[in-house]
Symmetry: C2
Subunit: 340 residues, 2 copies
């Protein structure tokens, strides 16, 4: 009988934490002991996993004694404080926050793209930002075939990327505005009103005028492709969608590739599904990706504005592909490679 | 006393037609006789203009007898059929549909950008597509200062660009989904469900994989700038916003320009307002532009992915700037230039 593992989910009451638990269940991950953890705010809540009810425990250093795999998604601060404590106690941490991503000692992994780099870990492995994960996944087969010089990406990101409070904010604002178009609505999570609006800011601004979210797409793409020469310019925008991030992506490849060859390569790549028959109305939208493991790609076309250019539209479930599934795939790969 | 004109609005019951009437009122346009026209579907409806109630008349060739200025916004078919009839009767037609835009005999005008070209008209002057109008307006001062080689644009377009039925569709779908997240909603105007979703299709697809809306942004930009060398790649996307189109625009200029110089140039250009102080949370969103004549620009930054690159975010009231105001400004310019 193959080994089973003691697994904890830190942030078990959040949207990504819950999705991690669903993915672990679905994939029948080999679990011996399961431990849901959270910060003081939600510790004590009940969650159900594999048909059994658990009380979410308060995460503290000693929580990780005897735990072999920790899936962390409770925010950058809890990760910063607790990941080293978990590692000290022999737990491998797969961290979904931005805290360790650019640390040179921490591999930043999309398993299908750079799973080979997991082996360099020193206890912590980082999950990329959700918008980066789906983009590098779709672009990887093109990168391998013809190289990529430059990416210009504009995103259409759902509110669940912020968290469940932002979902409530969108729904509450929408209800209020449908009742009264001039209603004053409460804005707490997203920077501006998001219902019936779009907001071109995700995370804080940096000195160069890009937001941190936009710079994540630059730096993480280079780190995952292990290629500092890829140029990226990103504009990240919040849209009134609940789950599912979309991306309008324009790339310049090093060598010419046709749209049909790009479609063929992406369609045969793991966890990418090409939905691209526009004459029949076939292209992905966010509501098509919810709950799906696949990253959906459509609107693939040869760029009329530059040599060796392609445009495409990439859609993926940000809670799943960009977070929960990616973390569980990292753990599965570690098991398969005998790293754990 | 200066001359007053006999003016008709064709499509007087539509969203753009109503906005045209509001703009004519606001600007105190010199009107002698006012005639609201529509197709069979809505002729007979009442509209109010300058405090007076009018019955919308059925548009037919003889409607234009004695009319000097016709503002057309009833769709491509009525324009195709009736504009030549109006011209035959001495009426100058300012047409908001796509029908005549690329006709070499028809000037395509954003008055602040290429108003000088109105004089070449042969009875018909075309208004550009709303998403083109706001983009060329914001980019014109940069084009004049340093030249523009290439534009990559992704749009976030509101449903009012489709028309009032699409606004009803968004609101109805939103209500239904707030009551029941699994509700089956009716999709008639926009190609897919638009509530809590985004749809990367506006207008029909062409053979090269771009939509007609996307190709309008290419061809109209070149025509308005009178420069076939400008390269444009567009991805046009419908978002669940009622009024206001947003655009994520990445450009390559011929010579280097700093973000601050670009801001200064745009800020001093007619009908462009720079709202760009991200540290203070100042950047435009669609709800900021509603009812405003100005095109709003924010998030101006030097592109880290190419030499001589700029990124920016352009927001404008599509009914007003992209349509009604533009048409009335054309008429005003014709009067000022003694062309009418």
């Amino acid at each position: 009988m193959s080994k089973k593992y003691n697994v904890c989910v830190l942030g078990a009451t959040g949207m990504v934490g819950k999705e991690m638990m669903r993915v672990l269940e679905e994939r029948n991950f080999p679990i011996n002991k399961f431990l849901p953890l959270a910060s003081e705010r939600t510790a004590g809540t009940k969650v159900t996993f594999q048909g059994k009810e658990y009380t979410v425990e308060l995460a503290e250093p000693k929580s990780f004694e005897g735990i072999e795999i920790g899936l962390f998604s409770a925010g950058a601060k809890p990760s910063a404080a607790l990941a080293p404590e978990a590692v000290k106690r022999g737990c491998v941490v797969i961290d979904n926050t931005s805290h360790f991503r650019m640390d040179p000692n921490v591999p930043l992994i999309v398993p299908e793209v750079n799973g080979h780099a997991i082996k360099n870990h020193k206890g912590i492995i980082a999950n990329p930002n959700c918008s980066t994960a789906q983009m590098v996944l779709a672009l990887k087969p093109i990168y391998d075939a013809v190289g990529i010089e430059r990416i210009v990406v504009s995103t259409y990101q759902s509110v669940s990327g912020w968290g469940k409070e932002a979902v409530g904010e969108l729904l509450n604002q929408s209800r209020a505005l449908l009742a009264d178009p001039n209603a004053k609505v409460e804005v707490k999570c997203i920077f501006k009103r998001i219902a019936f609006n779009v907001v071109p800011q995700i995370d804080q601004f940096t000195d160069n005028g890009y937001t941190k979210e936009e710079m994540k797409m630059v730096n993480e793409t280079q780190k995952i492709f292990e290629d500092d020469t890829i140029k990226v310019s990103a504009t990240t925008v919040r849209v009134p969608v609940i789950i599912g991030h979309s991306e309008s992506v324009n790339i310049k490849t090093k060598k010419k590739i046709s749209a049909s060859e790009a479609r063929r390569l992406m369609g045969s790549f793991a966890d990418v599904k090409v939905m691209d028959d526009p004459g029949k109305g076939i292209y992905p939208t966010p509501i098509d990706c919810v709950g799906k493991n696949e990253t959906l790609v459509g609107r693939v076309r040869e760029d009329i504005s530059q040599e060796n250019g392609l445009d495409m539209w990439i859609v993926s479930d940000n809670l799943r592909r960009g977070a929960a599934l990616n973390a569980v795939l990292i753990a599965e790969r570690m098991i398969a490679d005998g790293l754990i």
